[in-house]
């Protein structure tokens, strides 16, 4: 019998980056746990692929230059160096525009439809506000989004532990409000 | 700004490495004032006197005959008479005897405290000829 006690993660509540990561992780757990969604890694894998490609190009250049010393390797080096920096630009564009602040992409099957949930979070430096944006795309291509902007203090208790129940509540609220799409007020 | 005048020229013939190459000998006068080349970013001036000439053996020959380092703050007004060359004027072959047109130019390398290292040639050069016979006397 596997006893799954969720790890109690303690973080330094004054460390903004650590707090964001902890809350992000907690939200991910809500989607994969309570809401029974399946996490999609396509976005992250895209980034990893670009990084691996860039490193690969650099290693190839290194190897080629080692086997055929400069100046014979000049052409290969020019190609590799330009490719590398082009890949880096593509990577930057990718993380800035495609990934944005998205930290979890979850796929959900409801009845005979499937929906995709994207959660992204933003924190400003030295600001205690954790801004969460939840976007839902359904099978028809319709998109709805909801934002919650609250201080960390709502989610993290004085000991530095993320209060999972608060997170579950918050996410469920958003989930419900976005799910009830047909109700026009 | 400068006058480069060549005095006394002889051409004895010694061998540097098994072959016998022409060895030129000359003394020179040099008068120049380089003080306005110095500024806060000039650490030193490396002056050098080059002899440049063409021979049947080699299309271009450049030989530094004399050089001097002038640090910023030192006297940049030079007035040398009958200076001996610092370095031996060996040719790569026997092209000096009877050579009609050896050009002497003065150049300098500006060494900054930080930055680019230009080499600049002075305006004003001096051409001279070598005699058509070898000299046996010691110079």
């Amino acid at each position: 019998m596997v006893n799954e006690t969720p790890e109690v993660v303690k973080i330094n509540k004054w460390d903004g980056a650590a707090a964001k990561n902890a809350i992000d992780d907690a939200i991910r757990e809500v989607f994969t746990g309570e809401l029974k969604c399946k996490e999609s890694f396509a976005l992250i894998d895209g980034r990893l692929f670009l990084c691996a490609l860039a490193v690969g190009v650099a290693l190839y250049a290194l190897l080629w230059d080692y086997l055929y010393p400069f100046p014979q390797s000049k052409l290969v080096l020019i190609i590799c160096v330009s490719s590398y920096f082009i890949l880096m630009s593509i990577l930057t564009l990718y993380t800035t525009f495609k990934e944005k602040g998205i930290f979890v992409v979850a796929k959900e099957k409801t009845g005979n439809n499937s929906r995709v949930w994207e959660a992204s979070s933003y924190v400003k430096k030295h600001d205690d506000k954790y801004s969460l944006v939840l976007v839902m795309r359904d099978a028809n291509g319709k998109t709805r989004e909801a934002t919650v902007n609250k201080s960390f203090a709502n989610y993290i208790d004085n000991n530095g532990t993320v209060v999972q129940s608060v997170i579950v509540n918050e996410i469920t609220k958003l989930y419900n409000s976005l799910s009830s799409e047909k109700k026009e007020k | 700004m400068n006058t480069v005048k060549v005095v006394v020229k002889n051409v004895p013939d010694y061998g540097a490495s098994r072959e016998r190459n022409d060895l030129g000998y000359l003394t020179f006068d040099l008068k120049t004032d380089l003080s306005n080349l110095f500024n806060w970013n000039v650490k030193q001036l490396f002056l050098y006197l080059t002899a440049e000439y063409v021979t049947p053996n080699n299309e271009l020959n450049q030989v530094v005959l004399w050089d001097k380092i002038i640090l910023r703050g030192e006297n940049a007004l030079l007035d040398f008479k009958n200076m001996n060359t610092k370095y031996y004027f060996w040719d790569d072959g026997n092209g000096l005897k009877g050579h009609n047109n050896v050009t002497l130019t003065l150049s300098w390398n500006i060494i900054p405290n930080a930055g680019l290292l230009p080499n600049i040639q002075a305006i004003g050069l001096h051409s001279f000829k070598f005699p058509t016979e070898y000299t046996q006397t010691r110079v």
Binding site: A58, A61, I78, V81 | L60, P112
Partner: protein, 178 residues
């Protein structure tokens, strides 16, 4: 403090860890690509060199940094400071060209001498070698920065220092989750 550093790592899943490793790889690759890029742009196999000896004083001192170019259509001329490698030896030498003889088919031979040396470099060349040729030249010095190269000298003379610096850098990047 060290503990909190590793807390982040423990909470990383497989993908995040791969990303950390790749991030480190990209930092190294970027440095590498910039260096290779410089090689291509300047035409020199070693576009930046540290002065290792005092043979060019008072112009250059040990620890100064030199920037080289090696364009085939800018031939070396007398009075220029060149960096060359003697065949069989890896150490680059920075000296000034004293004599030059060039044939019309482009082959050149040079003689060099350090400003601070009283004799020319024939004693430094390989056995039986009297002149340097184009292929011995790594590049011509175009610019210089004083003292900046001292770090490289320390790292080479005290390998432990180099190791420590690189290890710290690696640990920081691998462990710090963005």
């Amino acid at each position: 403090m060290l503990d909190s550093l590793f807390d982040d790592v423990k909470r990383m899943n497989k993908r995040q860890f791969i990303y950390q490793v790749l991030s480190f790889g990209m930092i190294v690759s970027s440095a590498l690509m910039i260096w290779k890029g410089l090689m291509v742009v300047t035409g020199s196999e070693s576009p930046i060199v540290v002065v290792l000896s005092g043979s060019m004083e008072p112009a250059f001192h040990r620890g100064d940094l030199l920037f080289l170019t090696n364009y085939p259509d800018e031939p070396v001329r007398v009075g220029e400071i060149v960096v060359f490698k003697v065949e069989g030896r890896d150490i680059p030498i920075v000296h000034r060209v004293l004599k030059l003889h060039e044939k019309n088919n482009g082959t050149v031979k040079f003689l060099t001498k350090g400003d601070n040396n009283s004799v020319d470099d024939r004693g430094l060349y390989a056995q039986g070698q009297l002149w340097l040729t184009k292929k011995d030249v790594v590049g011509r010095t175009r610019g210089f920065l004083p003292y900046v190269g001292m770090v490289t000298i320390y790292m080479n003379e005290y390998p432990k220092f180099k190791f420590a610096v690189l290890a710290c850098l690696a640990i920081y990047v691998l462990v710090h989750r963005e």
